[in-house]
Amino acid sequence: MAPSTISAALLIARKDLAIEFRTRTAFFSAAIFALLGIVIFYFAWDPTAVAPVDLAPGVLWGIFTFSGLLGLQRSFGIEQADRAIDSLLGAPIPRESIYLGKAIANLAFVVAVQLIAIPAVQLFYGVPLLEHAGTLAIIALLAAIGLVAVGTLFSAMAVNTKLAEMLLPVLSLPFFVPVVIPAAQATARLLAGRPTDELVGWLKLLIAFDIVFVAACTLAFPYTIEE
């Protein structure tokens, strides 16, 4: 019997992570890109005029968005190289499992970049991010899910167009706005030591975004397959 949607998705995700683990190229470039961005943004502002604590949340989530795009670009690129996507499409598995598998792998990728970027922001900006590790992890995960849900779908679409990777940021970035704003605002509240209920509104927005777009993109994915 062919595997279920979930087990097929996990097989595909594990395959993607094995490839990434072996080549490591995308992860290294995304991690280095994130570190470079964090450093450059520090010098782009006058630290005596803007306190690092005011700067850090925006930098963290801005950089996170762009480094996430690097991972997403590669996602369907590796399928396209030798038309390996055809072997997935030819397998007796639901189309949705291909989307979910790619999304799970991309989520792991984005979370791994965050695990480097967050301590780096703490180090370079001297802000106590890790003191709020628990809450920050929730914000980061909710933001990552939204980003990956939309980005994985657009990555699948972009590889089939004439513009290929060029198109991904144009399509994705407007969709990242309702992810970056709540994540940055919630992080700013967190760093300012505001009471937790000030975060709740932002977190609700992130959760709603995740639910709507994970569902919508999973349903939409089968339509993005050329057939």
Binding site: R95, N160, T161, L171, I181
Partner: protein
Amino acid sequence: MNSPASATPAYDATPPKSAGGIDWLFLIAVLAIAAALARVIYYTPFEAVQGPAQKIFYLHLPAALCAFMAFGVVALAGIGHLWLGDLRLDRAAESSAEVGVIFTTVVLITGPLWARPVWGTWWTWDARLTLTLFLWFIYVGYLVLRGAIDDRALRARYSAVLGILGSLLIPFIHLSVYLFRTLHPRPIVIKPSAPSLPPEMLTTLIISFVAFTLFYIALVRQRYRLAAERDLLELEEGR
């Protein structure tokens, strides 16, 4: 859970009617716009506080409402296309998106023109103006996507997916921008339009809105004919 619907993409192979003749609807729409403008300029009193600048409002608001309507049509036509696989719906989406982007551009131009004398600044991150800016980005991206795909059926399906997701995105952008604004109190500028308009102004606004809607329909119809002729041409070349 099988592959999605979309059987044969249906082609409306009949050539568009009266393509060369006078488009009466278009003519009426242009006259309606001219009439509405005449009323705005000559027969509507100045607003006491904002002065003549307020009159741009009679263009700004109808354009914004028509843009929303246009993008709503894009999403509905997209759902219809994915469901039925009918290319006529995709042509409707394509036409409506292009006209919607034009109206959004009008909103983005008239907004700052009005804001400069009234609010004292060309651009402000007002929640509605910000939302309009993002609308513009989403649907310009939609047009870029369309231009990047040669296969007609694939272009239709991808556009439908983006059109639907874009409509889902609008409330989220609105909400996050709105929360951003309300949680970031800024120096108070003059509040945008008062809730109750005097009857003459309201009448002008309604006339203007009707004229804009007519103009929207006329433009989409023209653009649809163009799309139909292009598809027909491709169909003939393919034979």
